[in-house]
């Protein structure tokens, strides 16, 4: 008889070894698929690495792709630590970008040193406020936050489309439905060749590491995630902790929207995110909700995205191949979690079921 038993004390070394093995299996499986459809897998992998890291320009592009993923994942991680399943990062991102654009269009004359922080704070407030909607609905009506945040993503996206095709349509764009570009002062400057979004992302990761690991709030979030009853018993104000944490969570996602609108798009558009908010749910989960790991995982994901885009130009491969590889890798990693948490126990026949279940 084989039974599945929880591991009592998971060892970090073993865990990481298992995850590496999972990625290895995934790469092998993807290679097999590529070989079947007629590509040389080694060539494809080499091109992906070269396309994302080889020249300074490509490396910058890769970092550009990692920046929003890091900021979004940090935001999602706070909520997930509390077991508040916020999958509304996409919507909070768009609300943040919307808030930042409101400011950028309302005060085009302000100098960058005032305008940019103003945009950042507004984006935080808009994203945070948008995340509070599902939090309040959960507290008041116990409506599932997973579903409400999911629905709100599309409400936000349609709102941006509405602006783009309606009131905010740029008359100077000759009939094209697009929103006017930001003024020069509303665009994030570069630092060491890459827009300062990377400094913001690293700084936020450091702050969040401190908040989650060392501060009282981080401790309260973790306790609340483990058990609401324990949190109450310990005298914490569940409502206060929840609201602050969700405000932070949505606020960070809003900041990601501001950074992307200001530094990459130089405007607002319905294609600003292109699903980053969903990808970030995956990176957050793979990073086990830990800020330093989030940076690593987001960067690896960016390599995958940028490398995949490069395949299109160098091998004429459809860009979607990167999606397939991405899917296969995560499927394997998700599956490997099982072997991290459980082991198979071989039970001799003749033992009673109860003993075997231990």
């Amino acid at each position: 008889m084989i039974r599945i038993v929880s591991r009592v004390e998971p060892s970090p070394f073993r865990e990481n070894l298992l995850r590496l093995a999972a990625v290895g299996c995934a790469l092998a499986a993807s290679a097999a698929i590529m070989a079947i459809i007629g590509y040389n897998p080694l060539d494809v992998y080499a091109k992906m690495i070269a396309g994302s890291l080889k020249t300074a320009y490509r490396f910058h592009e890769t970092v550009n792709k990692a920046i929003p993923l890091v900021i979004l994942s940090l935001g999602i991680a706070i909520a997930f630590r509390m077991k508040f399943w916020n999958i509304g990062a996409e919507g909070q991102f768009y609300l943040g970008a919307f808030g930042a654009s409101l400011v950028a269009f309302a005060f085009p004359g302000l100098p960058a040193i005032i305008l940019l922080p103003f945009m950042l704070v507004t984006a935080f407030a808009f994203g945070g406020a948008y995340a509070l909607v599902p939090a309040v609905l959960k507290a008041r009506f116990s409506a599932s936050e997973t579903l409400v945040t999911l629905m709100l993503n599309y409400v936000a996206l349609k709102w941006i489309s509405f602006l783009q095709y309606g009131p905010w349509k740029d008359p100077a764009a000759k009939g094209f439905p697009k929103i006017a570009p930001f003024s020069k002062d509303a665009i994030l400057p570069n630092f060491l060749g890459i827009h300062v979004g990377w400094v913001i992302a690293v700084a936020l990761a450091a702050i969040m590491y401190f908040v989650l690991k060392k501060s009282k709030l981080g401790y309260e979030i973790d306790v609340l995630g483990e058990s609401e009853a324990t949190a109450r018993y310990a005298g914490m104000s569940v409502t206060r902790v929840t609201l602050i944490a969700i405000l932070l969570s949505g606020g960070l996602c809003g900041i990601a929207g501001m950074v992307q609108a200001s530094a990459i798009e130089h405007s607002l558009s319905e294609q600003l995110s292109g699903g980053l908010g969903f990808t970030a749910v995956i990176t957050t989960w793979l990073a086990r909700l830990s800020p330093p790991v989030i940076i690593v995982v987001s960067f690896l994901f960016a390599v995958l995205l940028q490398g995949g885009a490069f395949l299109q130009s160098s091998l004429g491969m459809p860009a979607t191949v990167a999606d397939i590889i991405q899917g296969i890798i995560i499927f394997f990693v998700l599956g490997s979690e099982f072997f991290v948490r459980y082991r198979f126990a071989f039970v001799k026949a003749g033992h009673t079921a109860r003993e075997g279940r231990a």
Binding site: R3, I4, V5, S6, I37, W85, I87, L137, F141, S142, A143, S144, T146, L147, V148, L150, M151, L152, Y154, V155, K158, W159, S161, F162, Y165, G166, F278, T279, V281, I282, W285, P318, A319, T320, V321, A322, D323, I324, Q326, G327, I328, I330, F331, L334, G335, E337, F338, R341, Y342, R357
Partner: protein, 322 residues
Amino acid sequence: MNQFVDALSLFMQTSVQMGTHILLATLGGILCEKVGNMNLGIEGMMLLGASVGFSAALATANPALAILAAGVAGAGGALLYAIITVTLRGNQVVTGLVLTIFGSGVSGFLGKGLSGKSLPHEISDAFAPVSVPVLRDIPVLGKMFFEQSLYVHLGLLVAIVMYVYFKRTQAGLNVRAVGENPGAADASGINVNAYKYAHVTAGGFLCGIGGAYLSLVFVPRWQENITAGAGWIAVALIIFSTWNPLKAIFAAYAFGALKGIGFKFQSVDLSLFGKPIAFSPQILDMIPYVATIVVLIFITYRKKKEYQSPKGLGNPYFREER
């Protein structure tokens, strides 16, 4: 007056045509959620079905095989999801999102060779609207039901069969037990994992043929990302219909009507009390999502038992940790 009735029946006919893929996908989602698994990969499974179904139609020129291939493709995606979430106990939300990425990747890859091709006439003939004499002349509702492609009737049929299955059969009752309380279901001798696997993959099958409705009947060509977010609408309508297959018919067709209104009034000038009003298609697009949130609040607030989501939804079932 007669003109109005004619226009209305035409509108109803279009609404049904614009809601059929959503209906099939919603039904697929209901099957999956009834056994306690939330699958956010509906969009991915629809895309798998749409691209594989279209390829099969080109290759075989056989409508039944095309539908079957689309369903098997969707079920294949669902099977991956089931292995990870049921056997390996992975996170359902993340696995579903990855399935969507994976499905759109595969469909984009397959679709590269499909764009620009048109379907063989055997397929378009088989899915052409069937006009039933006499019945089609019933005012308003005639064209809606009796001048439609057989694919539309397939959606209706599945909904009715599913309703009877949940309400009247032992297996359907067991499904509800598995979704509500897998521990108790297991204790009473129901094979929880077998039920989960069967219904998750069957749900994927329906999502697959839902996607293929677009590429085989509605569009009918291959387009990159042909579903355009319909899978997410289906996720919303699962809740909107409170997990009831018959209400899903209403929900999906109402959504189709909403889309129809959006198209119709884009070009028409309307005014209310002398002020011009415009129907923004984007604002109309928001309605299903907002309505779903309202329904979510309503059902949790009312606490009426038949409206609730399956209690075990989203939680993996560990027999050993029961």
